[in-house]
C-alpha cells in the first residue's frame, strides 16, 4: 500500500514536471517547406519542333574579360593542387553575318503596362448578411481577393528568314595521323606582371536596383506552330499597313469641315478677382428703373461680352438668358448692357488671357438690394 502510494506520487510528480517544462524542453521540429516547381509536359512532336527552330537570340556584345590571375598567398599549396587544365580549341569559328533586323515599322508598338500600387482597402465594417447569406463574421475575416496581374500580350518573335544561318566553315574529313598536329609541350600560363590580384571585369556594372524589386518577365509562350504563326503575323502587318494608308487617304479626300476648336479650359480666377470684375461693372449698373418694375425679383438676365487681353470690351454685349429679352426683361437687359459698356476696362489679371476672354455676366436685381 505504501509502496503504491509512493509510486503513484512519483508518477504524478513526473507528470506535473513534464507539463511545466515540457514545452520548453521538447520543441517540435520545424516543418521543412518543400519548394514546388510546376512542370508541364510536352509531347515528342512539340519537343522536336522546339529544338529544330533555333531561337533568334539577340547578340549582346560583351567586353572581353581580363585574364584571371591566381592569388598569391603564403599559405602552403594544398596537396591536391591540380594545375588547371588548359584546353586548346582546335576549331576557330568565324562569326557569321548578323541577321537583318525585321521591319517592324508597321507594327503597333505595344504599350508598356502601367504598374499601379494597389493599396488594399479596409474591409467595410458594415454588418450584413448580404444576398449570399454570409455571416458578418465571415465577411470581416475574408481576405481580399488578389488583384489580377497585368499580362503582356506577347507574340512569338518572327522566325528567321528561310535562308538559315550557315557557317562558312568547311570541315574536311580527317583521319587520325594525317593532320594531327604535333604535340605541344605543355606550358604553364603565367599572369602578366601588371595584372592585379582582384579580378575587375570591363563589363559595365548593372544599374543599381530600384526600390521596387524587378518584375519577373512573363516567359514567352512557346508557339505551337511557328510557321502558321509567322504567316499570321505577316498578314496582320500587311492589313495594318493598308488600314493606315486607307485612313490617311480618306482624311485627305474628305470634305473639309470647319469645326471650331473646343473651348479652352478657362484659367481659374480667384474669388477676389471675380469680385473685382463684378464690382467694376456693378458700379455702373443703375437698377433704379428695374427696381421700379412689378416682380423685379424675377428680372434676372445673363449677358455675354468679349474682352481683350488688356480688358478692353470688344464690340457690343449680347443677351444670353433670355436670348431675346422683351418687355421688362428688355429694360433689365439694357441696364446691364449700359453697365458693361460704361464700366470701361475690365480688370483682367495681366497676362492670364492672351487671347482675351468671354465673360458671361449674371445680373440679379435682388442681390445687394438696399444699398442706396
Amino acid at each position: 500500500m505504501r509502496t503504491g502510494i509512493i509510486i503513484s506520487g512519483a508518477a504524478h510528480l513526473l507528470f506535473l514536471l513534464f507539463l511545466l517544462i515540457g514545452p520548453f524542453a521538447f520543441r517540435p521540429e520545424a516543418v521543412e517547406i518543400v519548394p514546388v516547381t510546376e512542370v508541364s509536359l510536352m509531347s515528342n512532336a512539340e519537343f522536336e519542333a522546339q529544338i529544330s527552330s533555333v531561337p533568334d537570340v539577340p547578340v549582346t556584345e560583351v567586353a572581353p574579360m581580363a585574364m584571371p590571375t591566381a592569388e598569391t598567398n603564403d599559405a602552403a599549396a594544398p596537396e591536391a593542387d591540380i594545375p588547371p587544365e588548359q584546353t586548346v580549341q582546335d576549331v576557330t569559328e568565324t562569326p557569321s553575318e548578323r541577321d537583318s533586323d525585321p521591319d517592324l515599322s508597321a507594327l503597333e508598338r505595344l504599350a508598356q503596362p502601367e504598374v499601379s500600387v494597389f493599396a488594399p482597402q479596409p474591409i467595410s465594417p458594415v454588418v450584413g448578411t448580404g444576398t449570399t447569406g454570409n455571416s458578418p463574421t465571415a465577411s470581416l475575416n475574408a481576405p481580399p481577393t488578389p488583384r489580377a496581374a497585368p499580362r503582356i500580350d506577347s507574340i512569338a518573335a518572327p522566325p528567321p528568314p528561310d535562308v538559315a544561318r550557315s557557317s562558312d566553315r568547311v570541315v574536311d574529313a580527317t583521319t587520325p595521323g594525317d593532320t594531327a598536329p604535333a604535340p605541344v609541350e605543355e606550358q604553364v600560363a603565367e599572369a602578366p606582371p601588371e595584372s592585379v590580384t582582384q579580378i575587375e571585369p570591363d563589363a559595365q556594372p548593372d544599374a543599381p536596383p530600384s526600390a521596387a524589386p524587378p518584375r519577373a518577365s512573363v516567359p514567352v509562350r512557346r508557339p505551337t506552330n511557328a510557321a502558321a504563326n509567322a504567316e499570321e503575323i505577316a498578314r496582320k502587318i500587311r492589313e495594318e499597313e493598308e488600314a493606315a494608308i486607307q485612313a490617311a487617304l480618306e482624311a485627305a479626300t474628305a470634305v473639309p469641315v470647319e469645326t471650331p476648336a473646343p473651348p479652352q479650359a478657362a484659367p481659374n480666377l480667384t474669388g477676389a478677382q471675380k469680385r473685382g470684375i463684378g464690382a467694376v461693372i456693378a458700379n455702373k449698373w443703375n437698377k433704379t428703373i428695374v427696381l421700379g418694375k412689378e416682380n423685379y425679383e424675377r428680372l434676372v438676365v445673363r449677358i455675354a461680352v468679349s474682352v481683350g487681353p488688356d480688358g478692353t470690351v470688344l464690340g457690343d454685349v449680347e443677351p444670353v438668358d433670355p436670348a431675346n429679352p422683351t418687355g421688362d426683361f428688355a429694360v433689365a437687359y439694357e441696364a446691364a448692357r449700359r453697365a458693361v459698356l460704361g464700366a470701361g476696362k475690365i480688370p483682367l489679371p495681366a497676362g492670364q488671357f492672351p487671347d482675351g476672354v468671354r465673360l458671361i455676366l449674371r445680373f440679379d436685381p435682388l442681390q445687394g438690394i438696399g444699398l442706396n
Binding site: 479626300t253 478657362a266 439694357e334 487671347d355 444699398l371
Partner: protein, 443 residues
C-alpha cells in the same frame, strides 16, 4: 482602291498629312461672373437746349426743353446733368454726336431736338441716344401742332423718351380734374378745376357757389362726372369739357354719389341711397336704364369698374367693418378681397387691371395702399393724418391722392407717389386741392 499601287497610296497618305490644317476658330475662354450690388440712383441724362431752326422758334424751344427735363426729373427715375457741365453742345440736329464728350460727364441718355415755327404750325423733332452704346435708341420722332400746344408736344416728347428708357407707357400728356378749395376749414368753398398733370394750364370748371365732389373723367377724356349739392342733395352731373354744358339724370332719384364711367363710356356706376339703403347701381347713359347690382342691407359705395368692364370693386360694411369686395358687373355674389386690420374705402381699379388702390384707416392713421385684385400683396405707400382718394396715372405706375394736414388750419393738397412708394411729391395748385382724378393719355 485595289487598282492603286501601294506606293501611290502611301504617297497620297503623305500628301494628305502634309496638307495645311484648317485654321481652327480661335475660342476665347469663358468665365461666368455674378454682378451683385449695383447703384440705385436716378439715371443721369442730358438734354441740351432744343435747337431753334428759325427765329420764331427760339423762345418756345427753350420752354420745351425745360418741360421735357421737368417731366423726366419728376418721375424720380432720372436726373438731369446741368448744362454747365456740358463739354460740348449740339448746334445742328443732324450733326454727329460726340459721344465721348457726353460719356465724360456720365450722361447715359442724350436727348437732341429741334424746333421750328412756320406761321401757325409748330414742329418739334427729337432723337434719343444711348451714350454708352453710342447708338440711337429708336427712331427720331417729329410732332406738329399749334404754337399754343407746345406744352402738350413737350409732354409727348417726354412720353416717348420715358417709354424707350423704362419700357413703360408714358403719362405726361394727361390732365387732372380736382376739387379746388379755398377759405377757412369750417367753411370751405369748393369748385371743380382741371389742369395738366404737372399743375400747368389750370382752369376752373364751376364756380364755388355749391359743393362739388368726386369728379371723374370719361374714358375719352371729353367729359367728367361729378357730384354736386346744388339741389340740396348730392346729385350726379355730366359735363362736357369742350362746351362746359352739364346734364343730370332725371331717373336718378334719391341721393346718388361717387359716380364712375364704365370702360365703354356708355354706362356709369354709382352709389344710391333708396329707402334708407345704400347700394351700387349702374345707369345706361343713352337709355337711362338703371340696374341695381347689390341688395345687401349694408352700405355699399365707391364702385369702380375693371378695365375690361366685367367686374366691379366696391366698399361695403356688410361684414361688420368697411372692407373691399369684387363682384360681376352684372351684380350677384360679391367676394371679399381685403382682410387686414382697419377699414378700407375708395377702391380704384388700375388701368393695367392688376392692382386695386384704396384708402385704409388703421389705428387712427390714413394710408394709401395697393393690393392685387385677389387681395394679396397688400402694401401701404403712404401714411399721414389724412390721405385719401387715390387715382391712377394713365400707365398705372403713379398714384395721386390728397393729403390733409391736421389742426384748425389743416388743408388738403394733392400729392403723387410711385407704386413702389418712392418719389412722394406735392403737385402744385394755386389753392387747396382735393379729390383728384387722373385722365388717360390725351389724344
Amino acid at each position: 482602291m485595289a487598282g492603286i499601287g501601294k506606293i501611290t497610296r502611301a504617297a497620297l497618305a503623305v500628301f494628305a498629312l502634309l496638307l495645311p490644317a484648317l485654321p481652327a476658330v480661335a475660342q476665347q475662354p469663358t468665365l461666368e461672373i455674378d454682378v451683385t450690388g449695383g447703384v440705385i440712383e436716378p439715371v443721369p441724362f442730358a438734354v441740351p437746349g432744343f435747337i431753334p431752326e428759325n427765329a420764331a422758334a427760339a423762345p418756345v424751344a427753350a420752354q420745351i426743353t425745360q418741360v421735357i427735363a421737368s417731366d423726366l426729373i419728376g418721375t424720380g427715375l432720372f436726373r438731369e446733368i446741368p448744362p454747365q457741365a456740358y463739354i460740348s453742345g449740339v448746334s445742328n440736329f443732324n450733326a454727329p454726336v460726340q459721344f465721348a464728350d457726353w460719356r465724360a460727364i456720365n450722361a447715359q441718355a442724350l436727348i437732341v431736338g429741334a424746333v421750328s415755327v412756320q406761321g401757325n404750325k409748330l414742329t418739334v423733332k427729337f432723337r434719343l441716344f444711348d451714350v454708352f452704346a453710342q447708338v440711337p435708341m429708336g427712331q427720331g420722332v417729329q410732332f406738329t401742332g399749334t404754337p399754343e400746344s407746345w406744352r402738350r408736344i413737350a409732354h409727348k416728347v417726354s412720353d416717348a423718351v420715358y417709354s424707350r428708357l423704362t419700357g413703360e407707357g408714358g403719362y405726361f400728356d394727361s390732365k387732372v380734374v380736382f376739387v379746388s378749395e379755398s377759405g377757412p376749414k369750417g367753411d370751405r368753398l369748393k369748385r371743380l378745376a382741371i389742369m395738366d398733370y404737372d399743375g400747368a394750364n389750370l382752369e376752373y370748371l364751376t364756380d364755388n357757389s355749391t359743393i362739388v365732389l368726386s369728379p371723374r373723367f370719361s374714358p375719352d377724356n371729353s367729359q367728367i362726372l361729378y357730384t354736386s349739392y346744388e339741389t340740396g342733395e348730392p346729385r350726379i352731373y355730366l359735363m362736357d369739357l369742350a362746351s362746359r354744358n352739364r346734364q343730370t339724370f332725371p331717373s336718378l332719384v334719391g341721393t346718388s354719389f361717387a359716380p364712375r364711367f364704365a370702360p365703354d363710356g356708355e354706362r356709369i356706376v354709382f352709389s344710391q341711397t333708396k329707402r334708407g339703403n345704400t347700394d351700387v347701381f349702374t345707369l345706361d347713359i343713352r337709355t337711362g336704364r338703371e340696374t341695381r347690382l347689390t341688395t345687401s342691407p349694408a352700405i355699399d359705395t365707391s364702385p369702380s369698374f375693371s378695365p375690361d368692364g366685367k367686374r366691379v370693386v366696391f366698399a361695403s360694411d356688410r361684414g361688420g367693418s368697411q372692407q373691399l369686395y369684387v363682384m360681376s358687373a352684372n351684380g350677384g355674389d360679391a367676394r371679399r378681397i381685403s382682410f387686414g386690420t382697419g377699414s378700407y374705402s375708395t377702391p380704384v381699379w388700375s388701368p393695367r387691371g392688376d392692382l386695386v388702390a384704396f384708402t385704409k384707416i388703421e389705428n387712427g392713421r390714413f394710408h394709401i395702399g395697393v393690393m392685387r385684385i385677389d387681395g394679396s400683396q397688400e402694401r401701404l405707400l403712404t401714411a399721414s393724418f389724412l390721405d385719401e382718394g387715390p387715382t391712377w396715372s394713365p400707365n398705372g405706375r403713379v398714384l395721386m391722392f390728397f393729403r390733409e394736414t391736421s389742426g384748425a388750419s389743416g388743408a388738403p393738397e394733392i400729392y403723387a407717389v410711385d407704386i413702389t412708394g418712392r418719389n412722394l411729391r406735392q403737385v402744385p395748385t394755386p389753392e387747396f386741392a382735393s379729390d383728384p382724378a387722373w385722365s388717360g393719355l390725351l389724344k
